[in-house]
Amino acid sequence: MGVLTACKPPAQTRQHDDAAAQKRGLKLMETKGCGACHEIPGLNWPRGQLGPSLMRFNDTGLIAGYLPNTPVNLAAFIRNAPATKPGSTMPAMPVTVSEAVDMAAYLQGGGRD
């Protein structure tokens, strides 16, 4: 665990504190149906159990236990998980780059509630 936390990049490299982006991110996660597989902070329904919970994602060191949890990595993973982490069973998502960036901003924004 110590190793994992060590991989978490220092706070100042995460420049996603844009509140508007985070708000868009949450709305997007709702409309894209991410909740079908994940529990997501701020989303009451659905709270899928198939994929890992995304509560307190800001405290996660590695994305899917594989990639450092940086904004760029997270946005890339959200858009196309199998290409970012070979063998990932999360399918590529029908979202644009800027949409993925907003969702990453939301998840890394500390979860909000």
């Binding site: 149906g33 069973t89 399918p91």
Partner: protein, 327 residues
């Protein structure tokens, strides 16, 4: 991009006050007229209350007299309600007019908790099957033949028409027409148990030529769906198809051109072409399909499809991949 049920009911103006066709227009006019009547009556009552409590003695005596009761309590509501009733019924009579000739007919059957959809020809024969989605050409009145397979449901596309109950053992006719293209949300508007609140569908209105091309292709594919052969070249699709046939899905779902001919659940012949998953509640893509198959009970508690949580993520993904390319 659909937002499922959220798109159907949220936003401003609310779909009820944002008609997209003549049948919805009359419902909207009626709704505003009733609202205006409500305002007027509330005004009169408040004024009368004020007079009764604070008004001059002479007015209070008039208000408390027998004449006021006969006029304000019997004559006024009697006349107003009768006129409103007659006017409202004539205004909306066109919504339920019987079939007269070669109208476009779509039979929709309410099931706990989804909608079976069958496109009919003029003679009433089923020419194409679908579920949880109806596609209609712009500018053409469509007759929906509404039935129920179990309990009372109600069929409602607020943008396009009024709502009408789906009653077991009966066929109710409801007309709808769209005057602009777009995707309009629909819901079951009569409590039908369990996940009733998660029972919806979408109506998609297309330009007539585009619609006709789509419809002809669908009708052809629904009888001799060549998909069974198409999918076998790709190993993941072949695996998905095999898992579908082996895990009982085929006993509840139909996919034309394969041995899957179950009728307990929605027809999946064109699953990849559908806007939503889970009866209007989630957008349709590989991720939501996977999530639905693996955890439909988590997403829509109490629905009649078991969660396939015993399949591995890789297997679920293969099934979703196969279903996603059925178009």
């Amino acid at each position: 991009m659909t937002e499922g049920l959220a798109g159907a009911l949220w936003g401003w103006p609310p779909p009820v006050l944002d008609p997209a066709g003549p049948y919805a227009d009359s419902v909207t006019v009626l709704a505003w007229a009733l609202f205006a009547m409500g305002v007027v009556v509330t005004g009169i009552v408040v004024a009368a209350l004020w007079v009764a409590l604070r008004g001059p003695e002479r007015w209070r005596r008039v208000l408390g007299g027998e004449k006021a009761v006969w006029i304000g309590g019997v004559a006024f509501p009697g006349v107003v309600l009768t006129v409103l009733l007659i006017w409202g019924l004539t205004l909306t009579a066109s919504l339920t007019k019987p079939i007269t000739g070669d109208e476009m007919r779509i039979r929709v059957t309410g099931e706990m908790w989804w909608f079976r959809v069958e496109y009919l020809d003029a003679a009433g024969n089923v020419v194409m099957r679908d579920a949880n989605e109806v596609r209609i050409p712009v500018g053409v009145p469509v007759v929906f033949e509404l039935r129920s397979a179990d309990v009372l449901h109600s069929f409602w596309i607020p943008h396009l028409s009024g709502k009408l109950d789906m009653v077991p053992g009966r066929t109710n006719l409801l007309r709808a027409e769209a005057t602009r293209t777009g995707q309009f949300g629909g819901v079951c508007a009569e409590y039908c148990g369990g996940p009733h609140a998660l029972m919806g569908f979408v109506a998609i209105a297309k330009e007539p030529e585009e619609w006709q091309r789509w419809f002809d292709a669908r009708v052809a594919a629904d009888s001799v769906q060549p998909l069974a052969a198409v999918s076998t070249t790709n190993p993941q699709l072949a695996q998905g198809r095999e898992l579908f046939m082996e895990n009982g899905c085929a006993a509840c779902h139909r996919v034309a051109g394969t041995q899957a001919n179950g009728l307990a659940g929605p027809d999946l012949t064109f699953m990849g072409d559908r806007a939503t998953v889970g009866a209007g509640i989630l957008p349709n893509h590989r991720g939501t399909l996977t999530g639905w198959i693996g955890d439909s009970q988590g997403i829509k508690p109490g629905n009649r499809m078991p969660s396939y949580d015993r399949l591995s993520a890789q297997q679920l993904d293969a099934i979703a991949a196969w279903l996603g390319q059925l178009k």
